[in-house]
């Protein structure tokens, strides 16, 4: 089955360290989303890309977060420096952008569980 692959699945790091999360979208999908999930805020959209171009990263703290798509098979989310409040589950999801707005499924990875101590 085609699936979105995220690494690492779990990460514990010390405050101030750099964290990089990686995502391999489903082959052929041209839209990639990064979501953050916490108990307090629920699912927040951090950034998303279409055809590797960033369309909207307004939900992302710009001072420490950055998101890129070096190629069509890899999306990265980087936090530098990390802080305890960044502890959350980070989900990557992908879909077919041309059909998303009219109603098409987006597929989620299993998430990267980040703990910053």
């Amino acid at each position: 089955d085609a699936r979105v692959t995220q690494t690492p699945r779990h990460k514990v790091t010390e405050m101030g360290q750099e964290v990089t999360m990686r995502c391999q979208p489903i082959l052929g999908h041209n839209t990639v989303f990064w979501y953050r999930q916490t108990m307090m805020q629920g699912l927040e959209l951090l950034a998303y890309f279409r055809n590797r171009a960033p369309l909207d990263d307004s939900g992302m703290p710009k001072d420490r977060f950055s998101a890129e798509m070096p190629d069509a098979t890899l999306a990265t989310l980087k936090i530098q420096p990390s802080e305890p409040r960044d502890s959350a589950v980070y989900f990557c999801a992908s879909g077919l952008g041309d059909r998303l707005f009219s109603g098409n499924t987006i597929y989620f990875g299993e998430g990267s569980w980040l703990t910053v101590v």
Binding site: V4, T31, F33, Y35, G42, L43, L45, Y48, R50, L55, D56, F91, A93, G95, G97, L100, F101, S102, G103, N104, T105, I106, Y107, F108, G109, E110, G111
Partner: protein, 113 residues
């Protein structure tokens, strides 16, 4: 801010009972989707309903959409312990040219065996 708000936040029922969850949204949409999340896992798509549809079924799931009230409901009939999960509604952002989905706050369903 959240586009969708689910209600109730948490629901606990006995196996065999029906579970109903509601979602309210703020702006006009052309479709609404429901997703399920098992503990510790990613979200999985359940069902999509378009704005010109009022009701849709998929197995034990029934989804309704009332665009005049900007609300949707998800009904799970004859619930099973395996239905224990969080359920989210998702709507496309009402910004032309963009394709993002905004998720609601979720309903945590617990089905007791």
């Amino acid at each position: 801010s959240q586009q969708g708000e689910e209600d109730p936040q948490a629901l606990s029922i006995q196996e065999g009972e029906n579970a109903t969850m509601n979602c309210s949204y703020k702006t006009s949409i052309n479709n609404l989707q429901w997703y399920r999340q098992n503990s510790g896992r990613g979200l999985v798509h359940l069902i999509l309903i378009r704005s010109n549809e009022r009701e849709k079924h998929s197995g034990r799931l029934r989804v309704t959409l009332d665009t005049s009230k900007k609300s949707s409901s998800l009904l799970i009939t004859a619930s099973r312990a395996a239905d224990t999960a969080s359920y989210f509604c998702a709507t496309p952002a009402a910004t032309s040219g963009t394709y993002k989905y905004i998720f609601g706050t979720g309903t945590r369903l617990k089905v007791l065996a």
